[in-house]
């Protein structure tokens, strides 16, 4: 089985991730799931729309997974992001890692999501009742 899973998908099934990261040499699995929140700065969010430059995004996600595997002793790593229109509570990103001991997978999991947010070319548009906003576009 693959040591790393890097994917951009239309719909995320969060029930797969345990099996995907499960590993005989691992004593711990740490997973972060990012989901759609209903409020931003006091305004009700109806949905989020994600788009990506897929070819580049997959490359950048792969770099993050490789970096994490160099920094920590990990057995498996997953970075999976969804694109398209997502309703409140929908999962939009899953990152995780398995390792012999918990410290490595906890630290790696945080690194995976924090770095993804900085470098991977994926864009999120917040849809409010009567306007849409590209997140982080303006200072």
């Amino acid at each position: 089985m693959n040591k790393k899973i890097i994917e951009i998908v239309d719909v995320i099934d969060t029930s797969q991730v345990f099996t995907e990261l499960s590993d005989a040499h691992s004593g711990g699995i740490c997973v972060f799931v990012g989901t759609v929140r209903d409020f931003t700065k006091g305004e009700e969010v109806v949905s989020l729309e994600f788009e990506t430059y897929k070819k580049m995004a997959l490359k950048e996600m792969d770099k993050i997974a490789i970096d994490a595997m160099e920094k920590w002793k990990l057995n498996k790593v997953i970075i999976r992001h969804a694109v398209g229109l997502k309703k409140v509570e929908a999962p939009v990103v899953v990152v995780g890692a398995s390792s012999a001991h918990r410290d490595a997978c906890f630290e790696a999991c945080r690194y995976l999501i924090d770095t993804l947010k900085e470098t991977v070319p994926i864009w999120k548009k917040e849809m409010f009742e009567n306007k849409t906003v590209w997140v982080s576009a303006h200072p």
Partner: protein
């Protein structure tokens, strides 16, 4: 030269690809950024404005070639 556009960059120009006229063809990433900010001042208002050449982030001094795949990368917001 064709430039791929995503996110707010697509909204600023109003389409998903922009063709830079032959006479204006920029030689470097820096020149492309300057050209776009001059033509579409809204690019200058973004929190960041990066360019990818052949699907890798490209520094300002990178030279552009006719067959490169060039994309504008406005501030990313995945996760």
């Amino acid at each position: 030269m064709d430039v791929l556009l995503f996110g707010i960059a697509k909204d600023i120009i109003g389409k998903s690809e922009f063709e830079v006229p032959v006479d204006d063809t920029p030689k470097s990433v820096q020149e492309l950024k300057e050209y776009l900010i001059k033509k579409f001042p809204d690019f200058g208002k973004l929190s960041s404005f990066a360019v990818a050449v052949n699907s890798e982030y490209a520094k300002d001094d990178i030279t552009l070639n006719g067959n490169d795949e060039i994309a504008i990368i406005p501030p990313v917001s995945g996760g």
